[in-house]
Structures are given as C-alpha cells and as structure tokens.
C-alpha cells in the first residue's frame, strides 16, 4: 500500500479530548505525524486579563479539568508572589493534600483512559469508580466535583469539615488496596506487556531536548520532580520518593504513575496527621479588601486602595500530574493581572510527538498517546 495521511481526530476515540493527530502511514507503520491543536483554545490567558485575581481561579479549574487543584495551586503561587501575600501554614498543608488527592484522581482518570486504549474494558470502570470516591471527598470540603474554586490568594477558602481526616484516611487505605488490583489486571497479563513494552521510547536526552517532563521524563531515568528539586508549599516538610524507571517505554510510564499514586497517598497521610495536630487559620488575616470581595462595584473603596498596591512579578513552578507546569504573572498595580502566562507540561509533551510515535504501528498510537496522558484543556488553554 502506498503512503497515506489519516486524521486521528478531532473526533476519534484515541484522542481523549479535542485535538487532531495527523498520521502518515505506510501499511500499518507510522511514517510521519503532525499534531494539530487549538480545537479547545478558549483564550484563558486573555480572559484572565479581564478578571480580578480571585476570579482567575475559576478559569484555572477549567484549564485542566482533570487536575483542577494543581492548576489552582500553580496560579495561586504565582499570584501570591506577584501580590506579596503571605499564607498561613495550615493552608499550605491543605494545598499539598488537595494537590496530592488531585494527582491520584488525575492518574486514575489516566488509568481509565489508558487501559481502554489498549482494549481493556473493565479497568476503565474501576478507575472511574475509585476516582469518584476521591471526588466525593473533594465535594465534602470544596463543594465541587471537578471545578472547586477552593484556593484563594492568601490561603484557601474554608477549613475541612469535622471528621474529614478520618474519611480521608479510610479512602487512602481503600485506594492502596485497589492499586494492587489494577496491577493484577494489567501487569499480570502477557498481552499487556506485548502491547506496551518497548513502544513509544523517548530517552532522557531527547526528553530534555524537546522539553518533555513529568512521568515521561522520569520513565527515562531522570529523577526530576519539582516537588523535590524546588519545593513549594509544604513539600519540603513531607517525606516521599520520586519513582524512576529506566526503560522509557509505555510500561515504564505505567509503573511510574502507579508508584506516584502510592507516594501521593504517603504524602496525604503525613499531611492529614499534621492537619489533625495543628488547627489554625487557613487564610491570611490582612488581605486587601478588593481581594476578599472580587465582585465589589466599581467605585468601592477597595479599588481606590488597589491603585496604590505595589507592582510585582510572579513566577511559579509546580509538579502537576502531567509534569512541570509554569506560570508567569505580571501585576501592574491594576485590579486585573496585566498578563498571565501558563506553560502546560502536556503542551511540551505533545510537541515532541514525532519523536516517540514515528516508526511504530498504527495500533501503537493509542497506548503511546495514552501513556502521555493528554489533557487538551491545558494545552490549548
């Protein structure tokens, strides 16, 4: 058969979102690929320039819809730096706990989608089922399942409800048990190894060259994790390991994510113990009034105060479930951010798609792209 281009997307079961992978195939072998993004470009960076600082949080939840907490955290860190706000310690721990729960939820979503890509039907349901339990927990203290609007400049919106830590501990135990079941369903299967070993290989040097981060980088043997290398929030006060694999293939990424979930549970348990022992405020006491009341009418005293607020630049980096996410925020003293720039890890991971898809079979594309864990919302923003 001669070579031909096929469009995998924007409506295609492989994409898990709205993007288009143009694939040039020769028979069943992929010769060339070209990713076409932008089908979900919602202009979040532009809209943010039209919003108050706390209103941007709403957009961050929708920016990456499987890791809302992580993106809130990313934005909040940059905004606090730009606005020179300090945060009470309890809020830091709550943020760490929320982000880790979000990491587990995001990885469970990845698991559900990934196993469906290689044809395993049942674990999709298991992944979604256990993810729903985490969302229930989120719902109990933020009120939302996926879009929380929980973190605030200067802390978090509210404290945990009574009895929360016990429920969270119970869930942790349940999840640890379930991870064994997941491994049985996947790793114990010969076909799984046949499908996932030695495909989508992207070695460490190539990862760094093309800006690939996150589990893909760690699966190539680089022990890079911003939570360890450049600790933010309370990550320097909790113990955890950074899992590393050497094979740089799809199975290695699977193992990395599974181990990351276990490590997240470990972090969560430590933060829960800390939260039990240290009650206190969760939001900074002296916040500028305009931050507390984002919907105040124009002419309010808060806005007058705002004019005298110092300028600032904020730069933050977090280890999002998908990899390294950066934010750069310019505060020009106005009531809205002057410019917000977000760097999504998936953006860089997809941009290197030619490096890890070309040369494999068409049937390898779903597992490979599944192992990248694509969230189009944060790529297109």
């Amino acid at each position: 058969m001669s070579e031909m281009w096929i469009n995998m997307g924007p409506q295609h079961p492989m994409t898990h979102g709205l993007w288009n992978l143009r694939v040039k195939i020769d028979g069943e072998i992929v010769v060339d690929v070209d990713a076409e993004m932008g089908y979900l470009h919602r202009g979040i960076e532009k809209i943010s320039e039209d919003r108050h600082y706390n209103e941007v949080i709403t957009l961050m939840d929708r920016c990456c819809y499987v890791a809302g907490m992580a993106w809130e955290h990313l934005y909040i860190l940059a905004a606090e730096e730009a606005l020179h706000v300090t945060v009470p310690e309890r809020a830091l721990y709550i943020r760490v706990m929320s982000e880790e729960f979000q990491r587990v939820a995001s990885h469970l979503m990845w698991y559900a989608a990934f196993v469906q890509d290689i044809g395993l039907l049942t674990p999709f349901l298991y992944g979604m089922r256990d993810r729903d339990l985490i969302l229930d927990l989120f719902q109990s203290y933020t009120g939302g399942r996926m879009t929380y609007e929980y973190m605030r400049v200067g802390g978090v919106r509210n404290d945990m409800p009574p009895g929360f830590t016990d429920r969270a501990r119970k869930l942790c135990t349940w999840l640890i048990d379930r991870f064994k079941e997941y491994d049985t369903l996947c790793l114990a299967s010969t076909i799984f190894h046949k499908r996932c070993d030695n495909i989508g290989v992207l070695k460490a040097a190539a990862c760094r060259k093309h800006g690939v981060t996150g589990p893909m980088l760690r699966s190539a043997g680089v022990k890079a994790d911003i939570r360890k290398d450049r600790p933010y929030a309370a990550y320097d006060r909790v113990e955890f390991d950074v899992p590393v694999q050497q094979d740089a293939d799809v199975t290695a990424r699977y193992l990395i994510r599974m181990e990351e979930m276990r490590q997240s549970i470990r972090i969560i348990r430590q933060t829960l113990d800390w939260l039990d022992a240290h009650p206190g405020p969760v939001i900074a006491p002296q916040l500028p009034r305009w931050l507390g009341a984002p919907y105040a009418p124009i002419g309010n005293e808060g806005y007058l105060l705002k004019r005298n607020y110092p300028h600032g630049l904020g730069f933050s980096a977090i280890e999002e479930p998908h990899g390294e996410a950066l934010a750069y925020l310019v505060n020009d003293g106005g009531e809205h951010p002057y410019r917000v720039k977000f760097k999504s890890p998936v953006f860089a991971n997809i941009s290197a798609v030619r490096e890890y898809v070309v040369g494999y079979h068409v049937a390898d594309i779903p597992p490979i792209m599944g192992s990248v864990d694509i969230c189009v919302g944060e790529v297109d923003r």
Binding site: P10, Q11, H12, P13, T15, H16, G17, L18, G38, Y39, L40, H41, R42, G43, I44, K46, I47, D50, T58, L59, R62, Y65, V66, M109, A112, F124, L125, Y126, M128, R129, R131, D132, R145, M146, T147, V376, G377
Partner: protein, 204 residues
C-alpha cells in the same frame, strides 16, 4: 382504531374535546373505497395515496407505528463518543460504575453514522465549529442534540473569549440544555431522560 368517523355529530360528547392538533378530519371524510372503484387508473394512485395518508398513515402511524418507534427510539439513544472539554469527564463518569448510563440503553458509539444523539460536552470553539457541523450532518435522521453544560449552552465562563462559540445552538439545533459547569452525571442522566420525554411526545 375505530372506523373513520364521517360526521361531527357522531363523535361521542363524553370524550374530552380534542385539541386542534389532534382533531381527526371529521368534516372532510377520506376518499371512500366506493369512489376509488370508479376512478380511472391514472387517478387511482394519487387517490389511493390520499386515502392511505388520511386513513392508514394518520391513524395507524399515530396509534401504532409512531408509539412503537418512539418507544424504540427513546430507549436506545446512542450518543456520539467524543469529548470536548471538562464536561467530557463527567460524561465519562456517567458511563462509569456509579451512574451507568447504559441502564437506559445509552451506549456511546464512535462513528457518527451509528449515532442518534450528539452530546456537546464542553466549550465549542470556532476552530471546531465546522467539524461539529460536519459530524452533525453525518449522523442519520432522526437525531437529537444535548447541549451539556454552560459552555455549550451559552459560552459559560468563556463567553467573552475571542475563540469561543457562545452557545452551540448557533451551529446546530439543540433539543435539551443542561445547566452546570460541569453538570453532574445525574444532571446528564436527567437531561437524557428529558430527551426521552420529548421523543415520546414527538408527532412527526
């Protein structure tokens, strides 16, 4: 399915007064078979068509065929399997173990040719608009559209953005709107059940 009534006086008064849309054609009786026999062959087909449409189609379709097919149609809605944005995750959750939309016969299909329901689960951008219309046109009739979430309904939090279609009803006709950002899976199931209600009351 009684025989066609030929006079208004014969309608039993005990029956509730039919609404205008339901009114049987009492004043213009259908072409009777006696008349058909006297027609010439050339006139037979239009006359028979008329007779059929007035009697068999009107009555039979209304009381037998339409309910049966509407029953079938509303109980087996195959939505298009695609995810636009945040709502797609809740869409997936609705097919998960806890909500299990398959209970209602809702099974997502990947090919638009086999679908009869398009759930627009997320923000529609101008870049994807023409692909959405193409997909809608590829779906065979009869077909329905559910606008899931605020973005699909009216642009949601992104309505001011330069790249976002403020509401998918600008592109395709929408049958059911579901509010929420994103709507919970229960809300999606409720929307599907409301669509089933719409199909049950359909008169086409």
């Amino acid at each position: 399915m009684s025989t066609p009534v030929t006079g208004a006086a014969k309608v039993p008064s005990a029956e509730p007064a039919p609404t205008e849309g339901d009114l049987p054609m009492v004043d213009q009786p259908a072409v009777s078979f006696v008349e058909i026999e006297t027609l010439r062959a050339r006139e037979f087909i239009p006359a028979a068509k008329e007779a059929l449409s007035s009697m068999a189609l009107e009555k039979g379709q209304a009381e037998v065929i339409r309910p049966v097919f509407n029953w079938a149609g509303r109980n087996s809605l195959f939505p298009l399997h695609w995810g636009l944005a945040c709502c797609a995750i809740e869409f997936a959750a609705a097919f998960g173990a806890r909500w299990d939309a398959e209970r209602f016969g809702v099974v997502p299909r990947s090919s638009p040719r086999q679908c009869d329901l398009m759930i627009v689960n997320g923000t529609v951008t101008w870049k994807v608009a023409h692909k959405l219309i193409t997909l809608y046109e590829q779906m065979p009739d009869p077909k329905w559209v559910i606008a899931m979430g605020n973005c699909a309904t009216g642009g949601g939090p992104f309505r001011t953005a330069y790249s976002v279609v403020p509401g998918v009803d600008k592109l395709v006709p929408v049958d059911v709107y579901i509010a929420g950002c994103p709507p919970r899976p229960e809300a999606l199931l409720d929307g599907i059940l409301r669509l089933e209600q719409l199909i049950r009351d359909r008169r086409e």
